[in-house]
Amino acid sequence: MSAVSHSRLDLSYNDTWLRLRNKLGKALIYLTIISLSLIFVVPLLSMFSMSLMPREQVGAWPPEWIPNPVQFENYAKALYFWNFAQSFRNTVLVTGLSMIGDLLSCTLVAYGFARFRFPGRNALFMVLLGTLMLPFAVTMVPLYIGYNAIGWVNTFNPLIVPHFFGNAFYIFLLRQFFMTIPEELTDAAKIDGAGEFQIWARIMIPLARPAIIVVAILSFQTHWNDFLGPLLYLKDQQLHTLAIGLYKFQGLPGQGSLYNEMMAATVLMVLPVLVVFAIFQKQFVQGVTLSGLKG
């Protein structure tokens, strides 16, 4: 064998080795990702399957995965016997009204900060950012005392009314977006005789739709998931939201044998979030990256 062909052979050997190594590396990455993502999703899948299981299958060892027979009545029991239908309605009501409050107040305030010059604007905006650092624990006790004094404990008011007065983080996000909208657009409308509120409603809100959807999703998640607020203020069972209903159900003596019905109630709480996520996946991810940037 001549020296030239030997070196060529060497090269091709190296080449296939590299390619093999690359392929092996890729396979390893795929294997890791697939197995890890399975581990992540299994608890969620078992929630769904358990919610359809008969009582005997719950708590089997080793765990059983497929409901046999499929028992839809777990949902009926969760909804009507354990009254989660009422909790569901309450959660929809509180979440819906709070979202309206958040969106209405935050777009107004953000527009004020973005487009008007007034004395103390920058200082007030720093105060707004400063309130983001304040842990809820600090205001929790005086707020409770105040709501108790005006008879709002055991009503939905403390969970809804404050959201009509703005949320610092959403105001910040919307203001950043409003500032990117060219001033020529609003100036043109002004020349046409539009008032400030008309400009807010007819120009700013339609143009800020992408940012508003992100804020709406963050707001939906916050209120749908809220636990501490309802825990403090909703005492009567008639007023319970899903979060509190599940917490109380979980604490019942003997709930260990009711895992299937409890999981059915859990699905009732999780499913709407998953549906919203399926529709607005992109905005969810944007919301995460934006909240990751806050501070």
Partner: protein, 315 residues
């Protein structure tokens, strides 16, 4: 911002900030205040008022059942010198903070690196890892009470394949904290998404140039990726610490601080003082809240102060 109006050379100090404004500017300022008025009113009623009230309460022995008496610094002195549960809950919280933040940052970074290797179906994998993070926390606790169940839980079943004997998880003081830490890893998706966005922002030229210079994958990770990602990593660590410091819901629902105070966290202890104990100790709870506030305030200052040293703004 450039202003077309001619500014007087010497501004007279006046009590009325509107006086110097032209009629048009005055009208603009009035509209500005009108638009931000919901927040201004809310700030006074729901934030500043309670903020000051909380500070005052922390120097009293107020409970909702009886009017309070001024006790000076007694609440603070009691917390630091005469309350074992304060120190136990603070220690537990620090353990949880260190554990959960370490898990989330390292696992989140590794997952983001794996997903950033030009693999197929990226959106699918990203979704699968992220979905647990959107599950409402109360639902998560119900699901994980099953996963961590000592008799028929999924985790014991899974660990059984590696020869690990069945653990008692939340029912034993030795493993309860570990159980909550394992559970916290389920939320790694959020951190992963932020890291992934950061990784995708690193220009490919950097890696290509280093490859030509003969740097292997490990060297590129240590010399290019990690230095460029430090601001994101640092930021996630601080935000993670601030959030984990307020761990509450899962501990209240899953262990209620037990067994034997193994998972009695700071917020749980604060909540018990304010609303759980009879009579409630709202004055003392307010002092605990202010101690927490100072801790979080200092951590936030670290973020603000150091951001210019850490944040990499591109070229």
């Amino acid at each position: 911002m450039s202003s077309a109006t001619v500014q007087p050379l010497v501004r007279k100090r006046t009590l009325n900030p509107f006086r110097d404004l032209s009629p048009a500017r005055r009208r603009e300022a009035l509209y500005g205040f009108l638009f931000i008025s919901p927040w201004l009113i809310g700030l006074v009623i729901f934030t500043l008022g309670p903020f000051i009230a909380s500070l005052i309460l922390s120097f009293t022995n107020y409970s909702i059942l009886q009017p309070g008496r001024w006790v000076g610094f007694d609440n603070y002195i009691r917390a630091f010198t005469n309350d074992d549960l304060f120190w136990i809950s603070l220690r537990n919280t620090v353990v949880y903070v260190v554990g959960s933040v370490t898990i989330r940052v390292i696992l989140g970074f590794v997952l983001a690196l794996l997903l950033n290797t030009k693999i197929r179906f990226l959106a699918l994998w990203r979704t699968l890892f992220y979905i647990p993070s959107i599950v409402p926390i109360v639902a998560t606790t119900i699901i994980w009470l099953y996963v961590l169940n000592p008799r028929f839980g999924l985790l014991n079943w899974f660990l059984g394949f590696f020869g690990v004997p069945r653990l008692r998880w939340l029912t034993s003081p030795d493993t309860a904290m570990l159980g909550l830490l394992v559970m916290s890893s389920w939320w790694v998706g959020t951190t992963m998404i932020i890291f992934l966005a950061g990784l995708q922002g690193i220009p490919e030229d950097y890696h290509d140039a280093a490859k030509i210079d003969g740097a292997n994958a490990w060297q590129r990770l240590l010399r290019i990726t990690i230095p460029l990602m430090t601001p994101t990593i640092f930021f996630n660590v601080i935000i993670g610490i601030i959030n984990a410091f307020q761990v509450f819901t899962q501990a209240l629902i899953m262990t209620n601080g037990g067994p034997l105070n193994a998972t009695r966290f700071y917020m749980l202890y604060l909540y018990d003082n304010a609303f759980g104990y009879l009579p409630p100790q709202m004055g003392y709870a307010s002092a605990l809240a202010w101690i927490l506030f100072v801790i979080i305030f200092v951590l936030s200052l670290v973020v603000v102060r150091s951001s210019d040293r850490w944040v990499f703004y591109g070229n």
